[in-house]
């Protein structure tokens, strides 16, 4: 690192101007020597994300809690009270005598991963790539551009993880008497693995979408992507229950969300049938790799033109 030190002193100026001049001059003569490393820069970028998240905590929290709260309220409180019972909607549940909230916990968490992971990654990107291109600020940090992209995925994944974790307390407290979820964590390791890779998968998808989609069409993309992924993501029914509509059961296999909700079912509510673990983990880890690769590539092409 070649930092040259210049001789101090700014001659002829006087008065206020001289003071300003000498304090500007000191910026150069009296400067700390930077020693950037990849890890330090990455850490500082994450610290920046947490500072912003902390500052926006109230709005972040409200955004994260509204969906599970309303879902739990309607599906685990209002509908059981009304007495529709959901015997028909949750076929698998009715058959095994489970409450609908038991099916809903993994489903809700899955949809939170998607919402938070994609919002947490895509929306900031859209802003940063808009006409002022504030992304250039971070792009000038002394790390390869792909590190910046990976940092974006990490930040989005952390938001997704927190967003999904919020579902637990909400569903535990918001339900009609006797309608609480039956959660039975068979393996904390499995739960952690599913949650971590679900977070990275949605954040990677968010990075990719945020870099390939024209910002002006983002609204449309959310309608075309987010909605079908959620509605057909085995949120309200386990995948096995779809066997009665065989074509749909096969079609939804292209939906990454299915593997998140099914993975959570395997970890949280094993009493409900779920798809094989190897398929789940393959999809979550492989999906992260594929979307991560695509996202990092398009990100780099958008930043450096």
């Amino acid at each position: 690192m070649a930092i040259t030190t210049q001789p101090a002193g700014i001659g002829a100026a006087s008065g206020d101007g001289a003071q300003v001049a000498s304090s500007i001059a000191r910026l150069i003569t009296d400067a700390p020597v930077p020693q950037p490393t990849l890890l330090k820069t990455f850490g500082a970028m994450m610290a920046r994300e947490f500072r912003v998240l902390g500052r926006n905590a109230p709005s972040t929290f409200i955004r994260a809690v509204m969906q599970p709260l309303l879902f739990a309220f309607v599906f685990a409180y209002v509908l059981p009270k009304i007495g529709s019972g959901f015997g028909t909607a949750g076929a698998g549940a009715a058959a095994s005598g489970l409450t609908f909230s038991t099916i809903l916990v993994p489903g809700l968490m899955g949809s939170m991963f998607l919402m938070q992971g994609m919002f947490g990654t895509t929306m900031p990107l859209v802003m940063e790539f808009s006409w002022q291109r504030t992304i250039e600020d971070r792009a000038l940090a002394p790390v390869p551009i792909r590190v910046l992209a990976i940092q974006k995925i990490t930040a989005g994944a952390i938001q997704a993880f927190i967003g999904a974790a919020i579902v637990f307390p909400v569903v535990y407290f918001v339900h009609a008497p006797g309608q609480g979820p039956h959660i039975d964590v068979t393996s904390w390791f499995l739960l952690a693995a599913v949650m971590v890779f679900s977070s990275t998968l949605t954040a990677s998808m968010g990075l990719w979408l945020g870099t390939v989609v024209d910002p002006r069409k983002m609204q449309m993309v959310f309608a075309v992507v987010l909605l079908p992924l959620t509605m057909l993501g085995c949120v309200y029914y386990p995948w096995s229950a779809l066997h009665v509509i065989r074509w749909l059961q096969i079609l939804v296999l292209i939906n990454p969300m299915v593997y998140m909700t099914e993975g959570l079912r395997a970890a949280l509510t094993p009493s409900i049938g779920h798809m094989p673990l190897w398929a789940i983990m393959l999809a979550l880890v492989g999906g992260t790799a594929v979307f991560g690769y695509l996202g990092v590539r398009t990100f780099r092409n958008r930043v450096v033109n």
């Binding site: 070649a2 210049q6 001049a21 700390p32 950037p36 820069t41 920046r48």
Partner: protein, 337 residues
């Protein structure tokens, strides 16, 4: 894709530049591919800027200045030629380059979700300063740039001049070897602009290497040791202000515009061109233009020539030697800002 092939095809890499050069480019090019045909934004630029120099790229909007800065700061991939900044190849060692440069982009790229102080602190930490040192550096910068009463304001609440000062402060956190300023005073009021000039002059006096782009002639005149006049992606002339004026034969330009088009081959014009001091006489549409080191009496003569040929004078101007007249002499075009 074409970039990669262009670079790998470079069979005999040119010798590394001398370590004293802060910026060096060889035939640097950028062509943007588009469905409506390729756009050659930069068409072969050669620069050799020693350390400590205040260098200006002067040209109208769209001349290729920002693209050139983009390539030198690693954010735009060159499609031809090579460039070194602080001794490092911009395409092969972008991270090494980024460590040694400070960049003030034309657009406001402040982190709007952070305060003024946080913008400086986090930028310092991006460059590896510890939290405590970063806070100290931020305080020092805030003080020097007169942002003390705004330090806790969010970055999006700053005025244009404050934002620009903060961007320059932010570019200096890690004591860059080269400071890039892309149109730093565009859109600022005259007072704020002069304040910024003062700051830049102090930095320069302390030995900071600066590359500035501007489309304001008076800015390049006021600040730069050397100036490259750029238009349509090429350097038209390069040197100190005096060199440029001398090379361009930029004497006083006397222009008279008539109500009628000037007829071809006026005998009087040849006579005028032979007069001592006169270097060039041009008839251009409805105008007659004379370049001369000794403008005495030329205006009257041009009017007389017009009158003798039945032309009616619409207006007349006499421009002193300046970058503006140099640009006109170089390009044959009026300078468009």
């Amino acid at each position: 894709m074409t970039t990669a092939t262009a670079n790998t095809r470079n069979m005999t890499p040119p010798p590394e530049p001398p370590p004293t050069a802060a910026i060096r480019t060889e035939n640097l090019r950028k062509t943007y591919k588009s469905s409506r045909g390729d756009v050659e934004a930069v068409r072969g630029i050669d620069l050799d800027i020693p350390q400590g120099e205040f260098f200006g790229l002067l040209g109208p909007n769209g001349a290729g200045k920002s693209t050139t800065i983009g390539m030198l700061t690693t954010l735009v991939h060159p499609t031809g030629g090579r460039a070194w900044v602080a001794g490092h190849d911009v395409t092969r060692k972008p991270v090494a380059v980024k460590r040694r440069i400070g960049v003030v982009t034309q657009n406001n790229t402040l982190d709007m979700q952070l305060t003024v102080a946080e913008n400086l602190e986090f930028r310092s930490r991006f460059f590896g300063l510890s939290k405590a040192v970063a806070a100290k550096r931020a305080a020092q910068l805030i003080d020097a740039f007169g942002l003390g009463d705004r330090k806790n304001a969010m970055a999006d609440q700053l005025s244009g001049g404050q934002a620009r000062r903060l961007m320059i402060a932010r570019a200096l956190v890690h004591q860059p070897d080269v400071l890039f300023l892309d149109e730093p005073t565009a859109g600022l009021d005259p007072q704020t602009r002069v304040n910024l000039w003062d700051i830049l002059q102090v930095l320069h006096a302390e030995g900071q290497t600066i590359l500035l782009t501007t489309h304001y002639m008076e800015e390049a005149e006021a600040l730069c040791d050397r100036i490259a006049v750029v238009d349509h992606g090429k350097i038209l002339a390069e040197g100190s202000l005096d060199d440029l004026l001398a090379d361009a034969g930029a004497e006083t330009i006397v222009t008279v515009r008539y109500e009628e088009p000037v007829p071809d081959g006026l005998a009087e014009l040849a006579e005028l061109a032979d007069r001592p001091g006169v270097t060039k006489v041009e008839a251009d549409g409805d105008q007659l233009r004379v370049f001369s080191g000794d403008p005495e009496g030329l205006l009257g003569d041009l009017m007389n020539i017009g009158a003798a040929n039945g032309l009616h004078v619409r207006d007349a101007t006499q421009a002193k030697p300046s970058l503006e007249t140099a640009f006109l002499a170089l390009t044959g075009r009026e300078y468009r800002e």
